[in-house]
């Protein structure tokens, strides 16, 4: 069975819902199974259902690569359930850490910081720019990942070291660094209050020491209450 456009679109649409039924027990298990089944023929449905009814978790955007590769394995046949499970275990972990690093830690915060600075200065333009640029990268990986995964089959995991990920992450890091500078630049009007310096140092210490985020929020709450009172 080929990966034609109709099948591709059907799988793509289902990957948009991969996180819908996220639970602690199976994580994206149901979402992954639903995506795989949306691209599987009736004959292979029972086998897929039997073998993939369990835990699955990876980065939601890069799940497309794993889904494409898994579909190819089922289409080709000849692989045992154990072999497919072993491949999925390696692939989901690899794509999870790459995706977390690339999207959650680099690209999204970099673009958000940039768009926030732009929004403070230009209004709605910053927000629109973020949505367009971010979704170009996001949807590109989500859509093309299915095809690339399907073509490369088990070799998909070697893509993790390819330019499409490495270059984008480097670029995002540089963009993020420039956005930090930009934020310092536009912070100039509030610098006279001098409050920004101790607050930045204080919160940098909290973040660097990896204090639990809830504690940071509670301290922020205390600071805002204090600022409100004085």
């Amino acid at each position: 069975m080929r990966l034609d456009l109709a099948r591709h679109l059907k799988i793509f649409a289902s990957t948009l819902f991969i996180q819908t039924s996220w639970s602690f027990f199976s994580m994206q298990g149901m979402g992954f199974l639903h995506s795989i089944l949306s691209g599987t023929t009736r004959e292979r449905r029972d086998r897929t259902m039997k073998e993939q009814k369990g835990f699955f978790n990876t980065h939601p955007y890069l799940a497309s690569y794993v889904i494409g590769a898994a579909l190819r394995l089922y289409d080709d046949g000849g692989r045992t359930a154990e072999e497919i499970k072993r491949f999925l275990a390696v692939a989901q972990t690899g794509f999870a850490s790459t995706g977390d690093l690339l999207f959650w830690r680099s690209l999204r915060p970099a673009l958000l910081m940039l768009s926030t600075v732009l929004a403070f200065k230009t209004g709605v333009a910053g927000m629109i720019a973020f949505l367009i640029v971010y979704n170009i990268f996001h949807l590109y990986h989500r859509f093309s990942g299915i095809y690339v995964g399907y073509i490369n089959s088990v070799n998909t995991i070697f893509l993790l070291k390819s330019r499409r990920f490495v270059l984008l992450q480097r670029l995002s890091d540089l963009l993020g660094a420039a956005a930090v500078g930009l934020l310092i630049g536009i912070a100039k009007p509030v610098l006279p209050s001098l409050l920004i310096i101790p607050l930045t140092l204080f919160f940098s210490t909290l973040v660097m020491r990896r204090i639990p985020a809830i504690l940071t929020v509670l301290m922020l709450l205390a600071i805002i209450i204090l600022l409100g009172i004085i």
Partner: protein, 214 residues
């Protein structure tokens, strides 16, 4: 009816974060702007959304870790501000909205754990009856929507009822921006500061100053 729309819009926007797509529509800067536009004050919407964006920039949803609910916080803060400011002074409304938003981020994180437990029950239901995969999977949308309502409704109800006394604390926009930029810088330094990226930080700073001058 006054409470219905903010709850509905907020709960629909939050689906982007927890159930459908993750297009970035639930990011604080976007939700703040949308809520501001709906209430006819886009400037304050951007301000609240932008500040909450900078505050929750570092919350990374990696693996099983559930960070505080930044998108929910922004929706609560922006929505509450517009409800509060109908009958209260702007400074006091902004103070109460910021406090509501930060509290919502903590409560939202806890409610998210419960929502995921409900999804766990759906998964076990599916294990008992394979035919209901699609139904159980998409019921997760309802869980996420209900999660949104249960976070937003109490705050919006309180915001629509509270009359803040004149002697209550006041927060002006400048101070809120100062706090936002401080936490944003801390998050940015943590995420992007490397020796190799120092040049880009300086270049960004120069661009910021030029942007400020124009």
């Amino acid at each position: 009816m006054m409470l219905f729309w903010p709850c509905l819009i907020g709960s629909l926007l939050i689906l982007d974060k927890y159930a459908f797509g993750e297009f970035g529509l639930s990011q604080p800067i976007i939700t703040g702007t949308i809520i501001g536009a709906i209430n006819g004050d886009i400037h304050t919407g951007i301000l609240i959304g932008g500040v909450f964006q900078l505050i929750f920039m570092g919350g990374l949803p990696i693996g099983r870790d559930i960070p505080p609910d930044g998108p929910g916080a922004s929706i609560v803060a922006a929505g509450s501000y517009f409800l509060l400011s109908r009958i209260n002074a702007p400074g006091q409304s902004l103070f109460a909205a910021a406090v509501f938003g930060l509290l919502a981020s903590i409560i939202g994180g806890q409610i998210e754990i419960n929502a995921r437990r409900i999804n766990e029950k759906l998964y076990h239901r599916f294990l008992r009856d394979e035919k209901c995969l699609t139904r159980c999977h998409f019921l997760g949308l309802l869980t996420a929507f209900g999660r949104g309502i249960s976070v937003f409704f109490p705050f919006f109800l309180a915001a629509s009822l509270i009359r803040i006394p004149v002697s209550a604390p006041v927060l002006d926009q400048q101070r809120l921006i100062t706090v936002g930029i401080s936490v944003g810088l801390a998050n940015g330094i943590y995420l992007f500061f490397r020796r190799s990226s120092l040049l880009y930080i300086v270049l960004g700073g120069i661009c910021g100053l030029i942007l400020l001058a124009t």
